[in-house]
Amino acid sequence: MRVAMRMIAGATPLVLAAGCDLNTPVYFAPEAPVTSNPDEAYGARATVAVVYRRPTPGERDNLRMASEARGVPIPWVRLRDVALSIQYTITNLSDRAGTAFLHVDGATQYTRYDAAMIRQAFVQAAMNENNVPYVPSLIQSVPIPVPARASVSGVVREDEIAEAALDLDAIGRWMAPYQVVLYHHSSRSRLGLEMVPAQVELPQFIELTVSLEADRPMRLEFLVRARDARGILAESGDERFSPNPMNFIPAAAMPMMPAMMMPAAAEDAAAMPGATPDAGQ
């Protein structure tokens, strides 16, 4: 008995150490650092895909039944299952102090929001680049002063990413006016979120696009940090979850037959009985 107790006491730290692997973060990096380009309106950018595994047939059936019971489609990649944050470092490559702005856009399994693409759509619709409204990104940083030849580090926090996910879902699936939603924080004002059902399960981002806008030559290095509480991040050998999110384009930026490109079309398809979370693949 004494020997057994001693062995248990000795094995406990090992078990705890092995358990520490649960919910340890996984990091996703862009292929290369981003160097600012003053010629681009929304700066230089890089997109990082957060890789999730495909649901098993059993998980897919459970998801379908839960969606029917709840009355709204439940995403495979849920906000409450995976927490995302972005750690970044901006390096000023010039000999003069400068100011940088960080923009974050992205896509859930339902909708993609790309401020640069929306602006381009406005330009094409207006035929006059000077008459194009400013299109906000999902997340915009405050001005970041960067001293000459120095680096500044920061974090786009998990709660900021969560707020952006709420905004994107409201814009993409529930017809929220994008400018109203993006300029109001949901904790202070529910303006624009009136059509979002109370029982909705919010989707998490499947890709994040980070842009650097600066008045001096600067370099941006960043990592997307994911904490997976449900084990849906893909590991080696897993089939990759590859949905086809719809690109959000405001009605005002659609000069021809806006009804054919209504953002609700893709969401309806996903809500159809029998539709799979990666419908459209």
Binding site: D21, T24, P25, T89
Partner: protein, 202 residues
Amino acid sequence: MHRASVAAVALALLLSGGGGPARAQITQEPVKPLPDPARFSRGLYADAELGSVFFLGNAHRALGFGTAFGARLGYDLLRWVALQAHVLGSTHETNLRSGAGSGELLQLYQGTAELKLSVPIRQIAIAAFGGLGFGHFSTNLLATSRLRLDRQTSLLYAGGLGLDYHTLTRHFSFGLQGTFVKVVELAVPGGVSVTAYARYTF
């Protein structure tokens, strides 16, 4: 009266002893308090260790000095040779050149099977050991750095030296160990762990 006086004098003489100075009798020298190594416990032993792990080369700046905790379970086949299983976990704070990813905590878990050869000299034993096993990094952070470690789990080789001091009891000893570890997948010269341990031999 006369008889009483004589009796009193005789009694006084008797009680005074009338002999020479007292002497203690020493029959045997006391045993010196040095332990007999032949009486030390041998066989199954377990120890717990605490120390530090650091890497050489490019990984030294990236991972710095990590705090390490470990445990070992072994068996003395002979007085001078033993087989042991060793686990060690160390926590490191990252400092990557890119900046993004710095300040994160990263753990390295090592598990090895080792052969230990020791030379006991009274209470002290000098040991050399070597073995192989597996190492596992807790996150994939190093894959995003210049170290380009794509696999979190890797084969590793370990070897080192130790100094053991046995107490006066049969079961307890303490010691210091230095181990060189080569994580195969990590493109650096290797790592070094320095630990102090307390051992109990059953």
